[in-house]
């Protein structure tokens, strides 16, 4: 357990490794394209406008208000789902490195988290711009999204250290996860509102992903997340980090065999 905690600490002592890797990941993905990483922003903008136009009609919602809601929700969801999906690949996408060098896995988890944070930054640009266009003002409460963001990133880090090694051992976990995230997208109130269901509906209250999304979405829309949102997100994150430590302690010495 101590050795596993030691590996966690590598993200501070060797931060440049994950920092460089994540930056290269992004620049590699968008190399030689005209807009570069701003393709991320453009894709997000078209998704928000498209969904906004369609669902504001289906749900009979005022367009401006609905599009802001969907923009704030999607940017949070994109980060969360990116973290969950890419968690499964942190070991497999770096198997060459892990086979040849004794690098702590935490560095690869941090690289994945940071890569998603860069994408989030590009998306946020669009969302803030849209909020400004459609709401004509940005509430100072928006800074409350920062602690929410930090919690989500920590959660992603924990999940990566759990699912990364397990996916290397059991190669069907990424598939299971992909189906799960897709289902979760429909079950989590992103393009529909939690208030459209009864307040105590378990699909909303017992869905930890909803609480994570709220931590970022509500501040963007100028509201304060509820205590329940904070409580659930913090508890789930704490559990994921504790579990990550256990998985690390158990798989650290065996990981090499699974590559």
């Amino acid at each position: 357990m101590l050795a596993a905690a030691d590996e966690f600490a590598a993200i501070f002592t060797r931060w440049r490794v994950w920092f460089l890797m994540a930056n290269q990941d992004i620049s590699l993905r968008y190399r030689r394209s005209l807009l570069g990483p701003f393709w991320i922003s453009l894709a997000m903008a078209s998704l928000i406008i498209g969904l906004g136009l369609l669902y504001s009609q289906i749900f009979h919602q005022p367009f401006k208000e609905y599009v802001s809601f969907i923009a704030a929700g999607l940017v949070a969801w994109t980060l969360l789902s990116g973290l969950l999906l890419e968690s499964c690949n942190v070991v497999m996408e770096s198997d060459g490195h892990l086979r040849a060098l004794p690098l702590p896995l935490s560095l690869f988890a941090a690289r994945m988290v940071f890569r998603n944070l860069i994408i989030f930054g590009h998306n946020l640009l669009v969302v803030v711009l849209m909020l400004f266009i459609f709401q004509h003002r940005i509430s100072p409460l928006i800074v409350l999204a920062l602690p929410g963001l930090a919690i989500m990133l920590l959660f992603g880090f924990g999940v990566a250290l759990i699912l990364g090694p397990l996916s290397a051992r059991f190669r069907d976990i990424p598939q299971v996860m992909a189906s799960f995230v897709q289902l979760a997208f429909f079950l989590t109130p992103i393009f529909w509102r939690a208030s459209q269901l009864k307040a105590s509906n378990p699909v909303v209250v017992l869905n930890p992903l909803f609480h994570f999304v709220e931590l970022i979405r509500q501040p963007l829309l100028g509201h304060v997340p509820t205590l329940l949102n904070w409580g659930v997100a913090l508890a789930v994150t704490a559990v994921s980090l504790a579990l990550a430590l256990v998985v690390q302690a158990y798989t650290r010495r065996k990981l090499f065999l699974w590559l």
Binding site: V17, M21, S27, A100, L101, P102, F170, D172, R253, F256
Partner: protein, 250 residues
Amino acid sequence: MARINLDHIDFNYPVYQVAGRSLKLSAMRRISGGPSGVVQVRAIRDLSLQLEDGDRLGLIGRNGSGKSTLLRVVAGLAHPQRGRVDIQGRVVALIDKGLGINPELSGEANIELPLRFLGATEAEIKHARTWVPAFTNLNEFIHLPFRTYSEGMKARLTFALSTVIDADILVLDEWLSAGDINFVDKAEAQLTSMLNRTRILVFASHSLELIRHTCTKVLWMDGGRMVRFGEPDEVIDEYTVAMRQAEAAM
């Protein structure tokens, strides 16, 4: 002071069949019984080894005799299932060629990450930023993407990146040689100076001559076991005879 102490280690590789890789099938097997879908390959068996400052160990043996696995044990990658491993000193493992090089980036931009992977300090990276371009003679090519380089230029850059930092314990697979560099003398000199700064070398190669003149000790492995361990000349001669006999018997 650097030290390597391996005490009766055993290392097995599990080889997973497709079914052994599946969570669903593994879970079902737990419940219903049946074959595990995992075959164990014994890569190192009951091997003990002590090395100290100044030791240059050459590993010889046929393909699949366990040399590469032993390199990975010393590098801290493979953890033996049995026995004790005690390694003291800064280990630099040059097992895979050009790890961390991004072909889309320029030579210049490719200096930092490979060295960070190997555990280079800030000072070493600062030094490498000026030393690597000078040593490789890439001139203006240092600003162009790595993928545009000729094979010779690529070899020069990977060689420079591999030899720029100091190790207490250097773990070396056979790819690193001055041979494919077009300024052999300069590269030989660099390799020699790097080896001189290294306290312990663990080196696997098929080139018996290279081992004879680089190493002070030789370990001959076969089937994961130690066959002979001792002076290079003795062990290599014995090995050569054994190989000839094996060939004649075929």
